[in-house]
């Protein structure tokens, strides 16, 4: 991706070749403008059967508005620091993802680039939504923890419209992808 700075030991910054990873397709990126905030929908779903109804065809985003009306002189940060961070923030890459829990219209948002793997993502989401969430092998999870109540499952919808379990694709590829939609389902019967 064009705006990825500081290569080093990070994953290669070149754009994803969709032929090597058929399930996750990228939009043809070309040269992206330097300060894109990449938005993706992640949906935490509830039931297996109504997968189709969980699709939110309109990826209309709920705008990030402060819950209260907050003055311009808040938060209390010195102007020097504010200026410095604003100038630098435009250069920092972010990969904001919207996460919805099924049945709850108001979602949460998080920056995938601030996490270092699926475990972090899961831990963060469990903390945010105060529920147990699983990914990858649902069956195995319930074998391991048989008495645990039904967890939410994290899934995503890819460009082809297929619903896939989160966790199979290496994290480095996830964090370099521009356009992925995710959703979760509940595993009621284990």
């Amino acid at each position: 991706m064009a705006e990825c700075k500081g290569g080093g030991d990070r994953s290669p910054s070149s754009s994803m070749d969709s032929s090597t990873h058929p399930v996750l397709s990228t939009t043809s990126s070309g040269c992206r403008p330097a300060r894109r905030d990449l938005s993706i929908d992640l949906h935490l779903g509830l039931s297996l059967s109504s997968a189709s109804s969980l699709l939110a065809p309109d990826s209309k985003s709920i705008p990030s508005k402060p819950r209260n009306q907050v003055p311009l002189d808040w938060p209390p940060i010195k102007p020097f620091l504010k200026r410095t961070l604003t100038a630098s923030a435009r250069r920092r890459r972010t990969l904001f993802v919207k996460v919805y829990m099924e049945g709850v219209p108001i979602g949460r948002k998080l920056d995938l680039l601030l996490l270092d793997g699926y475990d972090s993502l899961l831990a963060k989401l469990c903390h945010m939504f105060k529920t147990s969430i699983t990914y990858a092998d649902v069956m195995e999870y319930h074998r391991r923890v048989p008495h645990e109540k039904a967890a939410y499952v994290l899934t995503y919808e890819d460009q082809d419209g297929d619903w896939m379990m989160v966790g199979d694709v290496p994290w480095e590829y996830v964090s370099s992808l521009p356009d992925k939609r995710e959703e979760t389902e509940d595993c009621k019967n284990g």
């Binding site: 700075k5 500081g6 290569g7 080093g8 990070r10 990030s64 508005k65 402060p66 819950r67 209260n68 907050v70 003055p71 311009l72 002189d73 808040w74 938060p75 209390p76 940060i77 010195k78 102007p79 020097f80 620091l81 504010k82 410095t84 961070l85 630098s88 923030a89 250069r91 920092r92 904001f96 948002k109 998080l110 920056d111 680039l113 601030l114 270092d116 972090s120 903390h127």
Partner: protein, 575 residues
């Protein structure tokens, strides 16, 4: 009574370490007052409008070190309108007339002009140190005068000032004879810097111990400079972008390895993760690290660096470090005394990777922690209670939950109990900033337990006048109280008016105080200046309707011996 010769008394006074002690002895009797004032070297003026400069200069003719503070603290957050005041000129002019032995001038939140800097440069032949913090009104031309004429200059420390850039000439104004520089900080200078001049200056300053560069200085220049400063103790780097040549960075590592005394690092402007490993050789000796200007480093870059900084005492960092990163800090930096975590995303509904968990981890790993500034999006009472138990040594505790009035993230309760635990356990607490959902109860705790509290900052908190009354009645050592967007009105303002004479100042903005209340305060307490600022209306409307019950937008009350100040702008009305 046995009378000591004056020289003996003076000698005894020289052992008194603090301003307040010297102030106290000067009150004992006239003789002691005279001895004290004629031998006083350093004076601290916490509010430039509390006393007239001429009076200070007349009382202390041997003054060598003068510290003056101007605007109220909330000016840092744009709450004080521009042109409010805080001018340095009267102080510099008075000193130029009455204390030509002046050696050091320290100013904070004041408006300093180039003319004043020129006067300063030319008036004091023994001038050694200029420290300007959060000031404005001057340009690099004023600095050129300082550099040119202060032949004994040891310290030029510019911290977070708003300086107009008129070119890099100032750095080449230091004469060849000036070899006394110990500390140079120009990190806040916005413009270009002439590398050759900088290298020349460093080359002729063998005593340089502290050097903080600005963003314009490249890695190349930095490595050349560092080859000349093996005794450097404090370094603020220039920019560290990833447009580098590996060769420059290797030269940098070589140069840094020679700096065995280097203990404190800051700067890292635009630092790319690739350049972080070049700092590793230094990490084990660092006691201070400021990474708050570097949002481009993520938690893994930061933790790889910080986990090596086993002697770290002071850490300033962005919330990109995340809770996980703070756990690494907690397990690596056992000597940590001061922590500041700033928000990289300041929008209220934005995202922060730090929560109460990170702070709890720090508190359990770093029991020496005494000074904290922590920005986060959520907090819980349980966490605060745990933190209070783990770290009873807090002197400064400032917590800013970015969303105003946000309750406990787990229980949805107010955070009264959490902050109550802090003030109860931390018996030495001197400074406190509170946030989140808070009722009058937290103020009851503060008034009851925070007996050493000197400064309290309140935002979006409390239910009624009772809250503020608890603080005014209970906090015996309170010096500065600043309040914004809280429901305190005339009842609280007038509930303990004598208290304000024991304090430096009170600030209230977007509260419920009315013009009438302020007028009553002003009439009851002639030793206070009661300043009100209503920017929207201007002053004329207030004059037309005296005794109006309209709300006062901004109120600033301070004790003073100087009377009404003559330099107040239109929008400030002094009652």
């Amino acid at each position: 009574m046995i009378y000591f010769p004056e020289e003996v008394v003076e000698h005894i006074f020289s052992f008194l370490p603090s301003h307040s002690d010297r102030n106290t002895v000067s009150l004992v009797c006239k003789v002691w007052y005279e001895i004290e004032r004629l031998s006083r070297r350093a004076v601290f003026v916490g509010n430039c409008y509390a006393v007239r400069p001429e009076r200070v200069v007349r009382r202390f003719p041997k003054l060598c070190v003068l510290t003056v503070k101007g605007k109220p603290h909330f000016a840092d957050f744009n709450l004080v309108p521009p042109d409010w005041g805080g001018y340095a000129a009267p102080w510099i002019e008075a000193a130029a007339r009455g204390c030509v032995g002046l050696e050091e001038l320290r100013m904070k939140r004041m408006v300093v002009s180039d003319e004043s800097l020129e006067l300063l440069a030319r008036s004091f032949p023994r001038f050694k140190a200029l420290v300007l913090i959060s000031c404005e009104g001057f340009s690099t031309e004023g600095l050129a005068d300082i550099a040119s004429h202060c032949k004994l200059l040891r310290e030029l420390d510019l911290q977070e000032n708003d300086v107009e850039d008129r070119g890099p000439r100032w750095l080449s104004c230091f004469p060849d004879s000036c070899t006394s520089l110990v500390s140079l900080n120009f990190a806040c200078i916005k413009g270009e810097v002439d590398s050759a001049s900088l290298e020349r200056l460093v080359a002729k300053s063998p005593n340089l111990r502290s050097l903080r560069l600005n963003r314009a200085v490249t890695v190349d220049t930095l490595s050349k400079i560092l080859m000349r400063t093996p005794n450097l103790e404090d370094l603020g780097t220039g920019n560290f972008t990833n447009e580098f040549q590996t060769e420059s960075y290797l030269r940098l590592t070589n140069a840094l390895e020679k700096c065995k005394m280097l203990k404190s690092l800051s700067g890292f402007w635009d630092a790319s993760p690739v350049c972080v490993p070049f700092i590793y050789p230094l990490c084990h000796q660092l006691t201070g690290l400021n990474l708050s200007y570097t949002p481009t480093l993520d938690y893994s870059d930061l933790t790889r660096m910080i986990s090596r900084c086993v002697k770290l005492q002071r850490l300033w960092v962005l919330d990109c470090i995340s809770d996980k990163g703070l756990q690494v800090v907690a397990s690596s930096c056992k000597d940590l005394q001061e922590l500041r975590v700033f928000p990289s995303d300041f929008y209220v509904a934005g995202y922060s990777a730090v929560t109460e968990e990170g702070l709890v981890a720090i508190s359990s790993g770093c029991p020496k922690l005494s000074s904290l500034l922590y920005f986060c999006h959520q907090m819980t009472n349980d966490a605060l209670i745990t933190i209070a138990k783990n770290c009873p040594n807090f002197i400064r505790f400032r917590l800013c939950i970015l969303e105003p009035r946000k309750p406990d993230a787990m229980t949805n309760q107010p955070l009264d109990e959490g902050f109550g635990a802090i003030v109860r356990e931390c018996k030495g607490l001197r400074r406190l900033s509170i946030s989140g959902l808070l009722t009058d109860k937290v103020f009851m705790y503060i008034g009851k337990y925070a007996k050493h509290l000197e400064m309290l900052s309140i935002a979006f908190a409390g239910d009624s006048d009772d809250g503020m009354m608890h603080v005014l009645n209970g906090c015996k050592n309170l010096r500065k109280l600043e309040i914004r967007d809280s429901p305190f009105g005339d009842g609280a303002l007038l509930g303990n008016v004598a208290k304000y004479e024991t304090m430096r100042s009170l600030w209230m903005s977007s509260c419920n105080v009315t013009l009438k209340g302020c007028e009553i305060l002003a009439s009851k307490m002639p030793m206070l200046n009661v300043e009100i600022m209503n920017e929207l209306d201007g002053s004329s409307e207030m004059e037309e309707n005296p005794g109006d019950f309209s709300k006062v937008e901004k109120l600033y009350v301070y004790r003073t011996t100087a009377g009404t100040r003559g330099d107040a702008p239109n929008f400030v009305k002094i009652l």
